[in-house]
């Protein structure tokens, strides 16, 4: 084997090794970046302002474009956490099998749940000790949740976002 080939192979291998490392970093970066872009989008919800324009709007008449797509924790230990909503119900509480496990001292193991019905999300208290509040009102039965209105559980607050 000529000396030149061996030298090229020797340094080529090192370069290839680092190319691999940077490609892996690139994949990880793209993964993070995808999340960042979507969070910027969520940070400016249009729904809060828009809902004041039509005060009498019934929840059942929710339009396709303004259906809630994300549940965002706005206050409390988990602030910043977001869950993408689908068809499944979201359970909230300190129990391990909750969809959103909150470590809030004032929350019960199974505190509340969010259930979708015909495009509208309903919040329901599951007999918690300290109660669930939709904005200021205590939740007693299944209550429709408008976009951008805080659901308060202990020190944690959650909002639906488009």
């Amino acid at each position: 084997m000529p000396e030149l080939v061996i030298t090229v192979a020797r340094f080529g291998f090192l370069i290839l090794l680092w190319i691999f490392v940077f490609t892996v970093v690139g994949v990880i970066r793209r993964d993070l970046f995808a999340g960042a872009r979507s969070s910027r989008l969520v940070a400016a919800p249009r729904a809060v302002g828009a809902s004041t324009g039509q005060p009498g709007a019934k929840p059942a008449k929710v339009k396709r474009g303004r259906a809630a797509h994300q549940l965002v924790v706005t206050a409390g230990q988990l602030a910043g956490t977001r869950i993408t909503l689908g068809e499944a119900q979201i359970t909230i509480g300190r129990a391990e099998d909750s969809t959103l496990v909150i470590t809030d001292d004032y929350a019960s193991a199974r505190h509340a749940r969010l259930v979708p019905r015909e495009g509208q999300w309903f919040v329901e208290d599951l007999g918690s000790t300290n109660g669930t509040y939709l904005d200021r009102a205590k939740v007693t039965g299944p209550t429709p949740v408008p976009l951008g209105v805080p659901i308060r559980i202990g020190r944690t607050s959650l909002e639906l976002r488009p």
Binding site: G86, Q89, A95, T99
Partner: protein, 495 residues
Amino acid sequence: MTAAATPAPSPATTGEQPGVRLARSRRNSELSLLLLAMVLVAAYGATVEANVLDTVTPDFWVPAAALGLVFLGLHLVIRWLAPFADPALLPAVALLNGIGVGFLRRYDLARATPTEREDLAIFAGTGGRQLAWTLAAVVLAAGLLALMRDHRSLSRYAYTLGLAGIVLVMIPAVLPGRFSEINGAKLWIRFGGFQIQPGEFAKLALLAFFAYYLVRKREVLSLASRRVLGIDFPRGRDLGPVLVVWLISILVLVFEKDLGTSLLYFGMFVVTLYIATERVSWLLIGLTLFFGGAYLAYVLGASVGGPFANFYDRAQIWLDPFAEPYDRGYQLVQGLLTLGTGGLFGAGPGGGQPTLLPEVQTDFIFAGIGEEIGLLGLSALLVTYLLIVERGLRAALEVRDSFGKLLAGGLAFTLGLQVFVIIGGISKLIPLTGQTTPFLSAGGSSLMANWLLIAVLLRVSDGARRPVAAGGVAARPTGTPPEQLHGAPTEVIRP
């Protein structure tokens, strides 16, 4: 007004359907990274042959292709069973494993006579055995992915796993030396020509137990505390379990004569405790206890000897390896010289002399590889380890249940700690102990245990990244209907 308020989706929101962001599984990125890793392994093999044999044999690509097929199989299993798992884990581990097999094959070439070199069979020698072990380990990892569809199902066997872990740790200590001792460390079970290192598997079992135990106890451990000097210290009676684990790790140190394993178990527990309670005081208590214990063992080794003598010896070698460079310090001195010979760029794959270094196929593999790929290559490998650990911690951050958080965080940290313990040992940062370098060192037990660890991390990261819409977290793995939430008990913690 109403029409104007109904927004047309802006370009940025077109993909903003429920679950679209999280549903990006990135399996194709994983596949291309995996191919790149295998190209690297093949290139390594070719360079080795060019250097050692002075020619590249027509089937230099066979080991790389065999590994590639195995990893491709695991990739397909992931596509099928854990479609949202982290895409960076498998390729990074595959690269390390491939380089390990390649280096061991290179070591076989160095030891073989010139006539044997020309036709070294694919499953021959340490390299071939490592290749076979990789096959078995990957199959085991795939099996774990298939059996464990949700990482939370692991918590059901927590106490069984904890007991199994303790038994596995204790077996080598109890067995007579001729069945369990290799090179002064009693870490093995030997029968016939076959040996396994039960501690490698005990690591995983104990961690699952720690995670479960701490999830149950985190409230009392993190809420009840006394404030001293601005740091919250736990109450005396809550220290019990930590002291028990500390005692076990000291017993391991004394009876199995292995500082690395004992450091590994104790570090694992302290860090899971820290993750569970978010209290820095646990780290301080842990470090104080460990260093105090190690120092005590050193002093006892100097004065009393007996079971502590081995540790005292190792500490002496560490403090001054050049005192007896041809005797007790030989291995460490050779390792340091090997790393020095490698320099910045290394001698090129196949250009070094690994046969001069004792235990180059196991403990000192990192030094052996370092001689040939130099500091630049070694740092690439270290960054690869770092990325694996980072992805594990990332999965821990993203997963929604505390058991998963503790499990993934603890496993990722354990892997990192093991890399630190062995590489710190061969580079004379800490006393040398016989840990395996994960995925590189020859040895079936270590390879299998670490692939199982990766399988658990893949499973947790799948649970973490899977969108709720896909029924991932909300759905029950067994398909049983969810329990009546209305009837479920609630509990309160009053401040």
